[in-house]
């Protein structure tokens, strides 16, 4: 009986939290007009959320592309189809790995930082202090960070894919001797702008919204102690990563499925 009660209690707590998170998202969206009047706030956050994530995204993209080049070559060469390496690398990246891996890295690099920063601002009464100065922290602190994340994520995913294609080129053409003309021309012929690239972009926008939403909400909702902030940061990375992977399945089924 106790276990059952506990289950119900946990479910109620989780639902309440989801409700709070939804209201929170709504309030953030309402903060967009006033943010557009103060673009410097947004630009500053695009720098710390987006630009500072560039290094990890570029390096990871390069290596993921190179590994794709190697693994793809070893499989394709058995069928004499190594000329299709460019298509394989590009499709894997723009459809799946670009948005997904970039979002996972983004959750670890930028998401955790956002949660920790906002949580600590809460713990040190900075958010409360702003409220008492008649400044709405949702508009002044949270909204710029949220929209900076939403804006940065598709760009980071695009950069990841582009660098990944270069990585595949280095491994396939540079190291293994695939014909460079075939590599590029097949890629050009078979990668469709709407079907492949736009769907990838839509995915990365969805991931950007979900990851940043989780990150800023966990920070804002954190228990204002050092332990609470550390837990919130962990939760951000775990929830955001799982949400990205789960959402990816749903989006893939909708976009590329025949159902």
């Amino acid at each position: 009986m106790n276990a059952l009660q506990q289950l119900g209690h946990n479910a109620l707590v989780a639902l309440q939290r989801l409700g709070r998170a939804s209201l929170f998202l709504w309030a953030l969206l309402m903060g967009l007009p006033s943010l557009l009047l103060r673009l410097p706030l947004l630009i500053q956050q695009v720098f710390s959320v987006g630009v500072l994530s560039l290094v990890i995204v570029v390096v990871a993209g390069l290596f993921v592309g190179m590994v794709l080049g190697l693994q793809g070559y070893y499989t394709l060469v058995d069928f004499g189809a190594e000329e299709s390496l460019g298509v394989m690398v590009a499709l894997s990246l723009v459809r799946e790995l670009g948005p997904v891996v970039a979002a996972l890295l983004f959750a670890g690099r930028a998401g955790s930082a956002l949660t920790a920063e906002i949580g600590l601002m809460k713990a040190t009464e900075q958010l409360s202090g702003m409220e008492m100065m008649a400044v709405d922290p949702l508009k002044r602190v949270i909204a710029p960070r949220f929209f900076a994340g939403v804006l940065s994520m598709p760009l980071l995913a695009a950069i990841f894919s582009a660098v990944g294609v270069m990585g595949g080129y280095i491994a396939g053409v540079g190291l293994l001797g695939v014909d460079a003309g075939a590599f590029w021309s097949q890629m050009q012929a078979r990668v469709d702008f709407y079907e492949d690239i736009m769907n990838g972009v839509i995915k990365s926008i969805a991931f950007g919204i979900v990851v940043t939403w989780i990150a800023v909400f966990e920070g804002y909702d954190a228990v204002p102690t050092s332990e609470g902030v550390s837990r919130a940061t962990t939760r951000t990375v775990v929830y955001a990563s799982l949400a990205v992977l789960g959402l990816d399945f749903v989006l893939t089924a909708l976009m590329f499925g025949e159902v």
Partner: protein, 272 residues
């Protein structure tokens, strides 16, 4: 009904419950304009909660409170924010924005609300910093300040918009004697010079008595004593005298409520 001409803050029958815990149980307070009023009481009596109620950050369960004639719990958000521009609050931690320098912290409310040109903001910030003696520290970051300095910067920020009142949350806690002296002097002087109304929440009896015009003593959700510092020291209530004189035992027992001591020592029950 309530005279809001002499009293800036009027509290009537204020009850606040946190879950099932009663923090305030129908308290009445009158805070006179231009005076320094102290709210005192042991730790955990919800003194900080009272400041949050006055600032409208939380709403009372029952009863009401007026600030400058406005009924705070019923104010719509826009008007509440307008009212808050005229209230300063000094948090215990200072609550400085850690990513901004001392100068930018003091400039923050001016830039957010005043719409003044930057040159004028600069002059105002320098004047406020001069008033708390930290004009020389304008380029430092909050992490480079001592606790006492951080509180003085926060004080400069709280008076940046020339408010009608300032609320101090435990301003003396954890200060060395010198910065304590500085803060005592600043609170008293600012109140007189700027014509403020000050509310101090504190449990430091000596410092608070030195500057308060009137003191309310709270305990267990009730006002247990009120009066001038001199009157309270001679209070009829044994409890208030114990608090004001800081004796370890009295109506407030030294021991946290527990089972019988001998019985617990002699019992064989293994400790969990």
């Amino acid at each position: 009904m309530t005279d809001t001409i002499d009293n800036l803050v009027v509290v009537r029958g204020l009850t606040f419950k946190f879950g099932s815990r009663v923090i305030f149980d129908g308290i009445d307070l009158d805070l006179q304009r231009g005076k320094v009023t102290a709210i005192m009481g042991p730790s955990g009596t919800g003194k900080t909660t009272l400041l949050r109620l006055i600032g409208g950050q939380i709403r009372p369960t029952a009863g009401t409170l007026y600030v400058d004639g406005h009924e705070v719990p019923r104010l719509p958000r826009g008007e509440l924010f307008e009212l808050r521009k005229r209230m300063g609050m000094l948090f215990q931690s200072g609550a400085l924005l850690t990513d901004l320098s001392v100068f930018d912290n003091v400039a923050f409310p001016l830039r957010e609300h005043s719409g003044l040109p930057e040159a004028m903001v600069r002059d105002l910030v320098l004047m406020k910093l001069e008033a708390v003696g930290l004009r020389g520290a304008q380029r430092l970051m909050p992490s480079e300040l001592s606790g006492g300095m951080a509180r003085r910067v926060a004080l400069a920020r709280a008076i940046a918009l020339d408010p009608m009142m300032i609320m101090y949350d435990e301003p003396f806690t954890g200060q060395d004697p010198i910065s304590m002296g500085v803060l005592v002097k600043l609170i008293r002087d600012l109140n007189a010079v700027l014509g403020l109304t000050s509310i101090i929440v504190s449990h430091d009896v000596a410092e608070t008595s030195a500057i308060a015009d009137y003191i309310y003593v709270l305990s267990q959700g009730k006002v247990v004593g009120q009066g001038t510092p001199e009157a309270l020291r001679e209070s009829d209530s044994e409890w208030v005298r114990q608090f004001m004189q800081g004796t370890p035992d009295g109506p407030v027992p030294f021991h946290y409520p527990a089972d019988d001591y001998a019985e617990e020592l002699l019992s064989n029950e293994a400790r969990r």
